[in-house]
Symmetry: C2
Subunit: 218 residues, 2 copies
DNA sequence: GTCCTATTTAATAAGTCTATTATAACTATT
DNA sequence: AATAGTTATAATAGACTTATTAAATAGGAC
């Protein structure tokens, strides 16, 4: 939103750099690699972005923002908690499916260079909390009604994000290890999506809950 | 088991290298760094291991083996499925707690250098399948008895590993982002352990299952 | 066409990294 | 104590890296 218009070359560099950073990470990508990918002189990278790190920061900030984006989609007014959670988790899953290397890039970079965590915190500060609070209200209500076992939003989100992210972190490794075809792999991903929602929703049920009918509590 | 006895210096290099590789990954660790850490000449690294990559391979193989180790602990003869699964998941969790940087190292390395996947496959080939098959038999029996919803072992293991691994991949980032003290962080990890087991076990329950009593099916 | 500015390139400085080589310092054996 | 073998170091080659600089090229205004 705050982006200034960019020249074609600047765009080309950003795109190529993004591709390479996502594929191999910051450390294993040289400005020479990027220039080769773009088909331009290596000095041009520095002409537009001064340093490799500034270039990375630009890309990283945008991508990380995407990863922690609000995901407000779910929850048309009267929707049930289950529907809202389902749509939230599925939206998150789809976000990752569209950007499968993002978790790798972010984790890799935040682990090897923790100082970037702070700058991210500043940038994303309140963003996450919105979804968090919306979910918290809804979850507390469900628990009070006995439709969900007592648990924290923190754990619920941790569970959901863990399950979703792991698909795209481990997926490529599993694909290679099991010699899956691209088709088979995509089927696996799709199957995981269903299983994750299933596991999460069942995992929320209180003791002795019925599957779909009216609540037995109270 | 096949290890030859090692000199003190060789051991010292292995330990220092392991520490650094776990902390920053292969790419960001130089042989000079390792030598500095050990307090020896840089050439000595090469004297013992010829190349940086061979040194890494040695460490990586050992550590990855650990990560995929059998985890046979669980399941004393007559134990219930629930008890067996619980002890399996907890053992896996404890393995990770004792080696918290391992998932980062392995994922980082397998993603940036997929050719290592093949060599791992050879090395670990049958290892995993043992636990897998034991679990498969037990799970199928449970499903047949109606005590567990229909699902694959693959998904069950994927769920469990996802939840466990994510704690140690995301934990350090969360710790920094939320400014947690070491104590608070350890409490968070412990809480996650309980929640993960809870979520998994509830997630397995078939529709309309009762919490602990005798099964209502059939 | 000429001038001015923005873009692009070639050349290269300065540094790091891996790996090798030749030499020195130990250790043990006789 | 002399010798042989092992372990350690200093020095350095050679390949990369990032970043800068100065020169070349392109495009628009006049």
């Amino acid at each position: 939103m705050v982006d200034t218009p960019q020249s074609g070359m600047e765009q080309a560099i950003l795109l190529a750099a993004e591709r390479l950073f996502l594929e191999r990470g910051l450390a294993l990508t040289s400005t020479t690699d990027i220039a080769k990918e773009v088909g331009c002189n290596q000095a041009l990278i520095h002409y537009y972005f001064r340093t490799k790190d500034k270039l990375f920061e630009t890309i990283f900030a945008r991508k990380a923002e995407l990863l922690f984006s609000d995901l407000d989609s779910g929850g048309a007014a009267g929707a049930s908690f289950e529907a809202m959670l389902r749509s939230l988790v599925e939206a998150h899953f789809e976000l990752l499916r569209a950007n499968p290397r993002l978790p790798f890039l972010v984790i890799n970079e935040l682990v090897t260079n923790p100082s970037r965590i702070d700058s991210l915190k500043l940038r994303l500060g309140g963003r996450v909390s919105k979804t968090y609070e919306r979910l918290e209200t809804a979850l507390k209500a469900e628990i009070a009604e006995g439709r969900v076992r007592p648990m924290s939003v923190f754990d619920l989100l941790f569970d959901a994000v863990s399950l979703n992210v792991a698909v795209f972190l481990g997926g490529p490794i599993l694909k290679a290890a099991l010699d899956l075809s691209q088709d088979d792999y995509e089927r696996l991903v799709e199957a995981r999506k269903r299983e994750i929602v299933e596991m999460l929703l069942r995992g929320l049920r209180p003791d002795g809950a019925r599957p779909e009918g009216e609540d037995g509590s109270r």
